[in-house]
């Protein structure tokens, strides 16, 4: 089987699930990495190291910013000319759009956000969660090529072999975009809860530290946000100690405690870390669904009846403001940092 693997990146920063997709492709036969953008030498090198048999690059200054129409036209033209059996993409906001439009161009279908993909005879059978993860379905695509996006961390990442090299093949970029990128509003630091192996998350409880006195002149809402930000500092310190990312519940995001990008849960992001520590999160159904794929869940909450304890392996009933720093300190000692 001949597979294209679309390497999704933002300004050269690769979505690591792209390499997981490359590993899946290798299991089925030949894997061709497809990379769009400008100045792609570093990405090409890494793609070979992760096992690409061939790397196709559309290197054009018009592709520096992701614009779905141009990217879809480039990918469609490439697939029409080289007829892969399968196009794999990591599931991201970008690739959902890209896969969607490419499928229209190529008159085929998309299997989205898969958690498994296997060959049954000569048929590819995909599994994906539906109804907010309450059910899984198997699905097949009768079109050709089959387009599939893979959920981050659902597939093993292939080993990186630094000695593996190759030369990229340049392909034509289609630059027919209908949109203009005017700029970036917030240069937030990278928040990659989707790819983190450890996530420490905060919820509404993070704002409930009565022992803190907010600076004078704040109204009630400002004081609440200020308190929450102090709480998130503690969470950030634990996350940093464990080399993880900071997550948040919808309540914390809606409360303005922390930007939307940190949100975990069905309305935000589905995550699959090895360790998930929920602090001051009661555990609304959407949040619990969002962390269903976490290997180990630990919950810290004042309320012993909080639903989050139903999905946690270990629980601590207590005040997160004293406990979280204590846990950071304990790990500092044990990890020798």
């Amino acid at each position: 089987m001949k597979t294209f693997v679309y390497i999704d990146h933002f300004k050269g920063e690769v979505q690591p699930a792209s390499w997981e997709a490359l590993g899946v492709a290798k299991g089925f036969g030949s894997a061709t990495a497809v990379i769009f953008g400008s100045g792609l030498d570093a990405l090409t090198k890494t793609a070979f190291e992760f096992g690409a048999d061939e790397v196709l690059i559309a290197d054009d200054s018009a592709l520096i910013d992701y614009r779905v129409e141009a990217f879809a036209s480039t990918l469609s033209a490439l697939a029409s000319a080289r007829t892969p059996d399968l196009i794999l993409l990591p599931t991201t906001a970008r690739t959902r759009e890209l896969a969607a439009m490419t499928a229209i161009d190529l008159k085929t279908g998309v299997l989205v956000d898969l958690t498994s993909l296997s060959l049954n005879g000569d048929k590819l059978v995909a599994t994906r969660p539906i109804y907010e993860g309450k059910l899984n379905e198997t699905g097949v695509c009768s079109g050709k090529p089959i387009i599939a996006t893979l959920r981050a961390r659902a597939f093993p990442r292939p080993a990186q072999d630094k000695s593996r090299t190759g030369t990229a093949t340049k392909v034509e970029a289609k630059t027919d975009s209908l949109t203009t990128v005017e700029g970036y509003e917030v240069a937030e630091q990278a928040v990659s809860v989707t790819d983190a192996s450890v996530i420490v998350s905060g919820g509404r409880g993070v704002s409930n530290n009565p022992s803190l006195t907010p600076p004078a002149g704040m109204d009630e809402k400002q004081a609440e946000v200020w308190r929450a930000q102090q709480g998130f500092k503690l969470i950030g310190e634990l996350a940093m100690m464990l080399g993880g990312a900071v997550g948040a519940s919808r309540a914390a995001v809606d409360g303005g405690y922390i930007p939307y990008a940190h949100q975990v849960g069905q309305t935000g992001k589905v995550v699959a870390p090895d360790l998930y520590i929920a602090c001051g999160i009661s555990g609304a159904i959407q949040h619990i669904v969002g962390i269903r794929s976490a290997k180990l869940v630990v919950a810290v909450n004042k309320d012993a009846e909080a639903p989050i304890f139903k999905v946690a392996r270990y629980g601590v009933v207590g005040d997160l403001f004293t406990f979280v720093p204590a846990l950071t300190e304990a790990f500092k000692k044990k990890l020798g940092k």
Binding site: R96, T127, Y131, E188, V191, V198, R313, L335
Partner: protein, 256 residues
């Protein structure tokens, strides 16, 4: 300005969804407007208020999906159209996009089409971009803020890496996310108006198309393993002692 908000009817988020005889069952739980699509309606109404115009809510579904359209009307939409056809039994996202595009053309086009980011049932999040591609219109995805000026839309997209400002000439297809603001509650007057509304139902024949072939088909439904775990509450004399014990337990699980 003419705006069309595309919506879908889905089982409520609280529904206990399970597989029953190879079919998805949600018991007695009510069907509701897809919660993400309420943002599509909210965004459409904000556009109408800022630029004056009309909002038409559009839905594919069975006759019962009129209830979801009535919710959109009660929120303040001016008109609603349901596309319903007995031949639409196996519709994948690209098929839905082709049907929606035909319905949009029959409505007489629009300046802006809004969608939610994804549905709560299938959750693919593909239909907005596919509809844009079928129509040949620009796609502005995951929009949290919109301004319209001189026949162009300038939007702020909520992407994983932050916010991206993108503009496009109208007509365009937008998918709207939560940052647009909480969807308004239907007003009493709105509910009254919606309950009396006569919602036209269009068949594929009315749209001049036949049912699009599906490329993606469902095999079987699988109930995921239960995630009920027994939670061990860590106890101790002080936060330090509990932290010590918990850290040891986490390290023993070898997840770090």
């Amino acid at each position: 300005m003419k705006i069309i908000a595309c919506i879908k009817q889905v089982p409520d988020s609280e529904a206990k969804v399970k597989a029953e005889n190879g079919q998805v069952s949600w018991g007695e739980s009510p069907l509701v407007i897809n919660p993400f699509d309420e943002y599509a309606v909210e965004g459409a109404l904000q556009l109408k208020e800022a630029n004056s115009g009309t909002v038409t809510a559009l839905c594919i579904g069975p006759e019962s999906a009129k209830e979801a359209l009535k919710h959109a009307l009660a929120m303040g939409s001016d008109e609603a159209v349901l596309v319903s056809d007995s031949t639409l039994t196996n519709l994948d996202t690209q098929g839905a996009a082709r049907v929606l595009a035909a319905a949009i053309n029959k409505i007489g086009g629009a300046d802006i089409i809004t969608f939610g980011r994804q549905t709560l049932d299938d959750g693919s999040g593909l239909t907005a971009a596919q509809t844009a591609r079928v129509l040949g219109w620009p796609m502005l995805g995951l929009v949290g803020h919109i301004t319209v000026e001189g026949g162009s839309a300038k939007v702020s997209r909520v992407i994983e890496e932050g916010r991206q400002i993108v503009s496009a000439k109208l007509p365009a297809v937008l998918s709207i996310v939560q940052s647009i603001g909480e969807p308004r509650y239907p007003s009493f007057m709105g509910i009254r108006k919606a309950s009396k509304a006569n919602i036209p139902v269009w068949s594929l024949n009315d749209l001049g198309i036949s049912a699009p072939a599906a490329f993606v088909t469902r095999g079987e439904l699988i109930t995921p393993p239960s995630h009920e775990v027994v939670c061990e509450i860590i106890k101790g004399d002080s936060p330090e002692q509990i932290a010590e014990t918990l850290a040891d337990k986490i390290l023993a699980e070898k997840v770090l």
